[in-house]
């Protein structure tokens, strides 16, 4: 059930990423919704689910974003590492507040960028110039989206409960 929900989340993230990309990227500020989902799942479920989610999500993303100069597996490897490390962090540390979550999302994005871009550069397939600003902006965007996603996810059940209770009172 959880696996199906994870796959659904990845699919939705991919769909949103591919349809809302132009809105998600503004200047140096970019958001990788798939990476956000991976980190989110890893923090909430652990390293194993995190690495598996990262592997699946990354490979799907690699396939979807396939271009002649891209390599299927680099994104998957990067997200696998990120999911595994995020899962470890989520199990070893208390990541229940927005700031730690922000830091985790931010750091996860940095790690992902290092692995992703590093492999591409190492393999001499693509060059990214000086990606510090872009990576920092993406890390910031992911961190914001991730923290928001956590807040939404945590508030959503209570809000629904409150709305349901309010409707019940109005009927009486």
């Amino acid at each position: 059930m959880r696996a199906a929900g994870t796959i659904l989340a990845i699919a939705v993230a991919l769909a949103l990423q591919t349809t809302l990309a132009r809105f998600l990227v503004r200047g140096v500020i970019g958001v990788d919704l798939v990476l956000v989902v991976v980190v989110y799942v890893a923090l909430t479920t652990g390293s194993v689910t995190g690495l598996l989610t990262g592997a699946v999500a990354g490979l799907m993303q690699d396939v979807v974003t396939r271009v002649p100069s891209s390599i299927i597996g680099i994104g998957g490897l990067a997200k696998t590492i990120v999911g595994f490390l995020a899962g470890i962090v989520g199990t070893q540390f208390i990541v229940a507040q927005p700031l730690p979550r922000f830091v985790v999302f931010f750091a996860a994005t940095i790690v992902h960028a290092v692995v992703f871009m590093g492999l591409y550069v190492l393999l001499d397939v693509r060059h990214f110039g000086t990606p510090v600003a872009a990576v920092s902006g993406q890390a910031l965007g992911n961190a914001v989206v991730g923290v928001v996603a956590f807040q939404v996810a945590e508030l959503l059940p209570g809000a629904m409960e409150r709305r349901r209770a309010q409707r019940t009172r109005l009927r009486r």
Partner: protein, 280 residues
């Protein structure tokens, strides 16, 4: 339960997933030589395996080849030894043939030199008893041989025909105890009779005490016996002694080496005294 095991071994799972993706990446990336990295790495690793296997196989083949080579060399060595032995035998046969040809040539020269009619014969046997110094030749009465015909060799006198058969003849050698031939000293013309001693020496008898004979003098046939033509070499004087009587004691070394004799000539021309006997 299985999921729990997987969770407990997240490190292995992580490693497996990472390796799988590295392999996936490597399969798509070309190396500097244009070959995919995965293929290049696999090929490189496999090449090392091949190199090791090749070395192992090469070593085994080398050892095996050396063993086989050794065995072949041994067999070849034995074969070459057999060939060498056969060649040595062949060489000996060729040498024998050459010697025989040389002897025959000498015989022919001898026959050409003399005006006597001769027949070449090959020695096919020796005496059946050591007390008799005879030999058997391959010519007989069918070839015109008769008893008491002289038998000569390039080196000198051999003997006389004593028992001719249709296709063979027995020859009494001059060294036989019962053989004799009229002889003379070539230098002094002193006459005498050469008789066999039964060994490898001859004795010249009836040479006058006053005759001039010295060691090394050539002894030839005198022709008075009616068997041996005159002038054929018998041998050389080996020693001369005074016997205390009327005659010298002279030992003659035969010119013919009877032990190595292979071919001879039989003098078919009858001696003057024998022509009457033959006519009779």
């Amino acid at each position: 339960m299985a999921l729990q095991d997987i969770r407990q071994r997240s490190g292995y799972l992580f490693l497996a997933v990472v390796v799988a993706q590295i392999i996936l990446i490597s399969a798509q990336v070309n190396s500097r030589s244009g070959v995919p990295v995965l293929e290049s790495v696999i090929f490189g690793v496999f090449a090392e395996v091949q190199r090791a296997a090749s070395r192992a196989v090469s070593s085994v083949r080398h050892v095996w080849g050396s063993y086989i080579g050794l065995r072949r060399a041994q067999a070849e060595n034995e074969d070459l030894r057999r060939q060498l032995a056969a060649a040595q035998i062949q060489i000996q046969e060729q040498q024998a043939l050459a010697d025989r040809s040389r002897n025959l040539a000498e015989l022919l020269q001898l026959r050409d030199r003399s005006t006597l009619q001769t027949a070449a014969a090959e020695i096919i046997g020796d005496a059946a008893a050591p007390d008799f110094r005879t030999m058997t030749i391959d010519k007989g009465t069918r070839d015109g041989l008769r008893p008491d015909m002289a038998v000569i060799a390039p080196a000198g006198v051999v003997g006389r025909v004593v028992v001719p058969s249709l296709r063979a003849a027995k020859v009494q050698l001059l060294i036989d105890r019962n053989a004799a031939a009229g002889a003379l000293i070539a230098r002094s013309r002193a006459q005498g009779v050469v008789v066999g001693e039964g060994d490898d020496r001859l004795r010249m008898e009836y040479v006058s005490e006053v005759a001039e004979v010295s060691k090394g003098d050539l002894v030839v046939t005198s022709g008075i016996d009616g068997i041996f033509p005159k002038g054929f070499v018998i041998g050389v004087v080996e020693s001369v002694e005074k016997a205390g009587g009327m005659y010298k004691r002279i030992v003659v070394k035969p010119a013919v080496d009877f032990r190595s004799l292979e071919e001879v000539l039989v003098v078919l021309t009858p001696m003057p005294g024998r022509e009457v006997e033959g006519a009779e």
